[in-house]
Amino acid sequence: FPVVPEEEREDVQLAKKYLESFYDFKEEKSSLLKSKGLDQMAAKIREMQSFFGLEVTGQLNRKTLDMMKQPRCGIPDVRS
């Protein structure tokens, strides 16, 4: 549902944590490599969208966030 900017930031944090937990995403800590980190996150979002049969966009859209907010099993969907 529509959210305020604060909630948008929270959604990004939620997505990062979700991808770290279930899609082996490792956030790039160096600011110099921020774009690389965003690419990696988009790649992981695509992987997650593909797994759940969502439209594969690499973007954190509503349906993707909806799926991330569902109660679920704690075992990762993919492994390194």
Binding site: F1, P2, F51, Q70, R72, C73, G74, I75, D77
Partner: protein
């Protein structure tokens, strides 16, 4: 289906399990039954036999814990992660952990997670299955509330587990006959390990016929409930939701479970108090308050808490007037007025709908407030009413909001 890397599996057919502790949410016997039935699902389609032990190490150690509990994955409080389990192996291998911060239930309810369903999923991991991307499979990673009476293992899960262990001994490879649920063997802690026997016949795949969503422009389309939510309009029928948003042009199609898994059963009515960022949903004699995706704690509550007499078993529709802070509840040919400021029903109600809303001479299926108007839905029609004068302005098809 999928298996873990290197496809770990138990190299024996007799696998032991031990329940280390119990959740206070359920009776101990109900926990034991849920776990036993979960094992039975898997033993019914494989040669595996599961034996419960009461002391020492078991292949599969089952426990309830909160937050950090000494392994690789901490739990996260209510919602989110419900449980996890490890693939077959030594030590922690095979163990299943359940988040004690969840509300565990024996049945599928609006306010908790069905332990049998979650345990059956986790034990799939304990036996070597990874997550499936097949919607409806037991090993799908998302919790989906469903009726578990006479629950049968979906074919994808049967295929997965039989890829690891093969079919049951002296049984056809593919299930051909449904077997009734078997009661778990009753045991006492003083007894020797007791085997949970497999049923006589393997499990039949679960039929996967879901109800179909009506077409947007079907002239017969009716709605159970309608509400606004943060500037959008949500139309409900059965488990389906039509979502009309000012932020995108197309009508989005969803299911209630995709927003609120615990409320997947459908609604009779709903309304939003936007100043509180709160939507109330009604089903039979109960109601729930949600804020966005979150169901507020303390719900469901009986509708009598709003001031309805006990003779009222359900309401047909509800709509909130932002200007007067009144909410109108429609029941049969009458309506009630609820003061959101005082949180009490107003005196003088119920009144006949037709007495105050001229031209509305029937019950109301669903109601909506939008752009200074009320919209009362009855069957495939809706009636646009001026909020202040309460006079009928126009009559339209119920699905006129869908650009038909």
């Amino acid at each position: 289906y999928s298996t873990f890397p290197h496809s770990p599996r138990w190299r024996k057919e007799d696998v032991t399990y031990r329940i280390l502790n119990f959740t206070p949410d359920m009776l101990q016997a109900d926990v034991e039954e849920a776990i036993a039935k979960a094992f039975q699902l898997w033993s019914s389609v494989t040669p595996l036999r599961f034996t419960r032990v009461y002391s020492g190490h078991a292949d599969i150690m089952i426990s309830f814990a909160s937050g950090f509990h000494g392994d690789f994955y901490s739990f996260d409080g209510p919602g989110g992660t419900l449980a996890h389990a490890y693939p077959p192996g030594n030590d922690i291998g095979g163990d299943a952990h359940f988040d004690e911060d969840e509300n565990w239930t024996k049945f599928t309810t609006y306010s908790g997670y069905n332990l049998f369903l979650v345990a059956a999923h986790e034990l799939g991991h304990s036996l070597g299955l990874g997550h499936s991307n097949v919607f409806g499979a037991l090993m799908y990673p998302i919790y989906m509330a469903k009726d578990t009476r006479d629950y049968r293992l979906p074919q994808d899960d049967i295929d997965g587990i039989q890829a690891l262990y093969g079919p049951p001994r002296e049984s056809p490879a593919l299930p051909t006959k449904a077997s009734p649920p078997q009661q778990p063997t009753e045991v006492t802690p003083a007894e020797e390990p007791t085997e949970v026997s497999p049923p006589e016949a393997p499990t039949e795949p679960t039929p996967s016929k879901a109800p179909e969503r009506p077409e947007d422009c079907d002239p017969r389309l009716t709605f159970d409930a309608i509400t606004t939510l943060r500037g959008e309009i949500l139309f409900f029928k059965g488990s389906f939701v039509w979502r009309k948003s000012p932020y995108f042009s197309a009508i989005e199609h969803d299911t209630i479970s995709s927003f609120w898994p615990a409320l997947a059963g459908g609604f009779d009515a709903g309304y939003e108090v936007d100043k509180k960022d709160r939507v109330l949903f009604f089903k039979d004699g109960q109601y729930w308050a949600v804020s966005g995706y979150n169901i507020e704690p303390g719900f469901p509550q009986p509708i009598q808490n709003l001031g309805f007499p006990s003779s009222i078993r359900r309401i047909d529709a509800a709509v909130h007037d932002q200007n007067t802070k009144r909410t109108y509840f429609f029941v049969g040919n009458k309506y009630w007025s609820f003061n959101e400021n005082t949180q009490a029903m107003e005196r003088g109600y119920p009144r006949k709908i037709a007495a105050d809303f001229q031209g509305i001479g029937h019950s109301v299926d669903a109601a909506l407030q939008r752009n200074g108007h009320f919209y009362f839905f009855h069957g495939p029609n809706q009636y646009e009413v001026d909020i202040k004068s309460k006079k009928l302005i126009s009559k339209m098809r119920s699905n006129s909001w869908f650009n038909c």
